[in-house]
Amino acid sequence: MARNVFRRLLSLGRGREKNKSFSTCTSPAGTVKLSRDLAVNLNMIRDTLGNSMDVVVRELLVCRTRVALVYINGLINETALRENVMRALMIDMHNVEPSPGSGSKDLADSVKEKVLSIADVKKIGDFRTVLDGILGAGIVLFFNGEDTGLILKLPGFETRSVEEPHTETVVRGSREGFVEALSVNISMLRRRIKSPDLRLERMQVGGVTQTDICVAYIKGIVNTKLVDEVKKRLQRIDIDGVLESGYLEEFIEDAPFSIFQTVGNTERPDKVAAKLLEGRVAIFTDGTPIVLTVPYLYIESFQVSEDYYSRYIPGSLLRMIRLLCVIITAELPALYVAITAYNPEVLPSPLLISMASSREGVPFPAIGEILVMGVFFQILREAGVRLPRPVGLTVSLVGALVVGEAVVSAGLVSAPAVIIIALAGICSFVVPPQSDTNLLLSLFFTILAGFAGFFGLFLGFVLVLAHMASLRSFGAPYLSPAAPLSPGDLKDTFIRAPWWVMTGRPRVTGWKNTRRAGVVSSPSPPRNEEKKPAHRYKVDE
C-alpha cells in the first residue's frame, strides 16, 4: 500500500508529457538525403550543429573537385588525420592511376578504395548517418557533385588508461579495470573470451546523449529469453540522457521500490567474463567503467572474484566471514538495543554488570545512543569519501578518535554503543555491494528493536525475509539457490567448493548448458605413466 502511495506521488511529476518522447535533434536531419551540391551539404551541417566551436570544416581541392572534411576537434586522431587523410588527399592522390574522377566511378569510391589508408571507411548517403558519424568520432568527407560522402572512423579522443579498479581491488587476480571508453572495455572482454559465441549487441539509448550501450552474452550458454527480455527492457527506456549505467539500472530493475539491488555491477573484466560464463547477460555503457550484469542474486554480493582465484579453503572461510559481517552490520546495533533495553539477562552477569556500569549516567536511551552514533558514523564516512584523500584521512581521524573518545568520556554515549557502531561500520565495508542496503536494514531493525525488543527484531527478520523471497531479478528468484533450494548450487554460496567439484553451471542462470567442467574426481598425482587425454571445453551449438 505504501508502494501505491509512492507510485501516485511519482506519477504527479510525470504530468501530461507522458507520450512525448525525446527524439534526436530538433533540426531538419531525419532521413534527408545528401545533396550533390557541396555548399548545400555544408550549410546543412552548419545549420544542424550550429556554430559550435569544436566543429571543423576544411575545404580543399582534390583533382579539381571541391572536397570538404568535417569533423569535431578533439574527438579524432589528429596524427592519423594529417598522415593518412590530408596527406593522402592532397599528395598521394595525384599518383593514383587511372586518375580519379575519370571513368565511371565516383570520386568517393576511388578515394575510398585507393587513397585512404584507413581501415574503417564507409560510404554514406543520408544526412542522419552523417551526423551520427561526425558526433561519433568520425571524419566526414563530402565531394562536390556527388550525393554520397565518406565517413572515416578515426577515434582519437583522450581516455583514461586502464588502471586497477578502485572499488574491487584484489590481491590475486587481474589488475585491469574497465575504463570509460566502450570499445576499450569490449576489447578487454573479448581478450578474455575468445569464443565465436561471445555476442556483443550494440544499442543506443538516450534521446540526446545517444549513448552507446552493448549487450554481451555467450550464445549457447545464455537463455535466449533472458537476452530478449534484457533487450526489450532496454528498448523501453525513453530518456534524454544516459550518463552512467545507473540510469539503465533504474529503468530495467525488477523491484524499483525495494532496498535490495536486483541488478549487479562491476568494473572488473574478469568478473564480467565469469558472469557471462554462468549464463548471465552484461550491459556495457559508454562513458562509465561500471558494467551491469543480470540477473543478480543476493548471494552474488558475497562472491568476490578473488574467492575463485585463491585456494578454496580460505576462500570458503572468507565467504562465511562476509556473511557474518553482513549479519553484524545489519543486526548488531539492533541486538544491542534489544538486549540492553528489554532482555539484558542473555548476557553473562559480569558483562551485563560492566555494561550497566558504563551506561550509568548516559542521558539517552539505548536506541537514541545507537541512532546518534550511527548517524555520526555515516557523516564521518561521507565526509571522508568526498574529500581529497589527505583531508579525508584527517577527518576520519579526528572524527573517530577525538570525537568518539570525547563523547564517551563526557558520558554522552556509553562505550559499548561506540564499540557496536564502530564494529558494525567496519563490517559494512566488507561486503561493499550491500553496504547501503545493510545500513537501511540496520536502521529498520534498530527501530523495531527499540520499540519491541527481540520480538520486533525477529519480526523484522521475517518481514525482510518475506520481502527478499518475493523478489526476482529477470526471472531468477533473488534468494536462489537457497530458496528455491537447489542443493547442487549451494557449492558456491556459503562455501566456495573447489573448481573440480563445481562441474555444473548454477542452474538458475545456466540451465541451458549445464556442464562447465569435466573432471569429477579430485586431482591427484598420476598413478601410472598413461596420461588421460586432455579435455577441451567448448561451448556447444
Binding site: F454, F455, F458, V462, A469, P484
Partner: protein
C-alpha cells in the same frame, strides 16, 4: 487460477514440516503429551507419525484425483453442489479457526516469557501483519521464505539440544510403559490435530509444479517431523523429567536452563527467534489457505482483496475467543474430535465417495 505461482514437491514438503513442527515440537504440545504419557511420550510420537502418514496418504490420494483443483472446488464435483458448498464452508471455517490457536498461543508465550507488560494484541498484530505480507505476495513467496526458515529453525533446534546435552538424564525414561499403554494413547489423542495438519495440502496440490512423485511429500516430511519431534520431546524429558508436565512450553523452559562455561546462558531469545519464524510460516500457511478457500468458495477472481479483512478477522478472533490461557488449553483438548473429523474423516469420506462415483482421475498416483 487464483494463484499463479507454482511450488515444487520439496517446497510443499518443507511447508508441511514447518507447519507441523512449529506448534508440536517447540510449542505447547510436548507438555500436553507429557501430562498424559509421561516418560513414554516418545512412543506417542511414533504412533502419531504413523497416524500422520496414514492421514497424509488419504489426503494426497484424494487431492491427486483432482490434480488441478482444491478441496473447495472438487467437493462440489464429488458430492454435488449444495453439500459441496457446505463442505467447502467447513474447510473455510476450519482454516480460520485452527489458525487462531497458534496465533493466540504465540502471543501468550511471548508475554509470559519475554515481555509480561506488553498487551497481547501487539504481538498478534505483529505476526499477522508479517503473515499478511507473505500471503499477499503469494504461495511461492511463503514457500521460498520457508526454505530459508526451516533449515535455520532446525539448526537452532539442534544447537539448543546440543547445549542441553550435559543436563540430560537417561534415567528419566525408565521405566517404560510404567502405567501401561493407555496413557500413551491418551497422549496420542491430544496431538492428533497437529499431526494431521497435512490437510493444508488439499489447498496446495493444484499448485505443485509436477504431478509426479507426490507420495514422497508425505513420507519424507514425516520422517523429518518424526525425528525432530523425537529430538524435542526426548531432550525435554531428559532435561526436565517430571517438571515437563507442569510447564506449558517445556522446550523454552529447557532453553532457559542452558549454561555453558558461564558464558552462554539464558539462550531463550534464540528460542524466540525460532518461535517467531516458525509460527510465521504456520500462520501464513493457514492464513493463505483460508483466504484462498474463501475466494474459491465465493467464486472470486482474486484473493488479494481478502487478505486484509481476513487479517483483521484473525486478530479479533484470536483475542476474543479465549479469555485467558486456561481457556485456551481446555479448548485445545475439547475440540480434538471436531478437528480430526475435518482433517481425517471428511477427506476419507470424500475419497471413498469419489472412488465409488468414479469422479476424478487417478492420474498422478505415481
Amino acid at each position: 487460477m487464483l494463484e499463479e505461482g507454482r511450488i515444487s514437491n520439496r517446497q510443499a514438503a518443507f511447508l508441511v514440516i514447518t507447519t507441523i513442527l512449529s506448534t508440536t515440537s517447540i510449542g505447547f504440545l510436548p507438555s500436553m503429551i507429557y501430562q498424559e504419557a509421561a516418560q513414554d511420550s516418545w512412543i506417542s510420537i511414533l504412533l502419531l507419525t504413523v497416524y500422520g502418514i496414514v492421514v497424509g496418504r488419504i489426503i494426497m490420494s484424494l487431492g491427486m484425483r483432482f490434480p488441478d483443483k482444491t478441496i473447495v472446488e472438487y467437493a462440489e464435483i464429488v458430492t454435488g453442489r449444495i453439500p459441496g458448498k457446505i463442505i467447502g464452508f467447513l474447510y473455510v471455517l476450519f482454516f480460520l479457526y485452527l489458525n487462531t490457536f497458534p496465533i493466540r498461543f504465540f502471543g501468550e508465550l511471548s508475554i509470559t516469557f519475554f515481555m509480561p507488560e506488553t498487551p497481547l494484541v501487539f504481538f498478534l498484530i505483529g505476526i499477522i501483519f508479517a503473515a499478511a505480507y507473505a500471503v499477499r505476495s503469494g504461495l511461492e513467496v511463503i514457500a521460498r521464505a520457508n526454505e530459508i526458515i526451516l533449515p535455520v529453525s532446525l539448526t537452532i533446534g539442534i544447537i539448543l539440544a546440543i547445549m542441553l546435552f550435559p543436563q540430560m538424564e537417561i534415567k528419566n525414561f525408565i521405566p517404560v510403559l510404567e502405567k501401561g499403554i493407555l496413557p500413551v494413547f491418551k497422549g496420542t489423542y491430544v496431538a492428533l490435530v497437529y499431526f494431521a495438519e497435512t490437510i493444508v495440502m488439499v489447498m496446495f496440490i493444484p499448485y505443485l509444479n509436477t504431478t509426479r512423485r507426490t507420495r514422497g511429500i508425505i513420507f519424507k516430511s514425516f520422517v523429518v517431523i518424526s525425528l525432530c519431534e523425537l529430538l524435542a520431546v526426548v531432550s525435554t524429558i531428559a532435561v526436565l523429567g517430571e517438571l515437563a508436565a507442569r510447564i506449558p512450553v517445556p522446550a523454552i523452559f529447557a532453553a532457559r536452563l542452558v549454561s555453558l562455561a558461564e558464558l552462554i546462558e539464558r539462550v531463550e531469545p534464540l528460542f524466540l527467534l525460532l518461535w517467531v519464524i516458525a509460527v510465521f510460516v504456520k500462520v501464513s500457511v493457514f492464513y493463505y489457505c483460508f483466504v484462498l478457500a474463501t475466494a474459491q468458495w465465493l467464486n472470486l477472481k482474486e484473493y488479494k482483496a481478502l487478505v486484509l479483512p481476513a487479517g483483521v478477522l484473525l486478530t479479533v478472533l484470536s483475542v476474543v475467543l479465549w479469555g485467558n490461557i486456561a481457556d485456551l488449553y481446555e479448548q485445545m483438548v475439547k475440540l480434538v474430535p471436531y478437528f480430526v473429523f475435518v482433517e481425517a474423516v471428511l477427506p476419507l469420506v470424500l475419497l471413498v465417495a469419489a472412488c465409488l462415483r468414479g469422479k476424478g482421475g487417478t492420474a498422478g498416483e505415481n
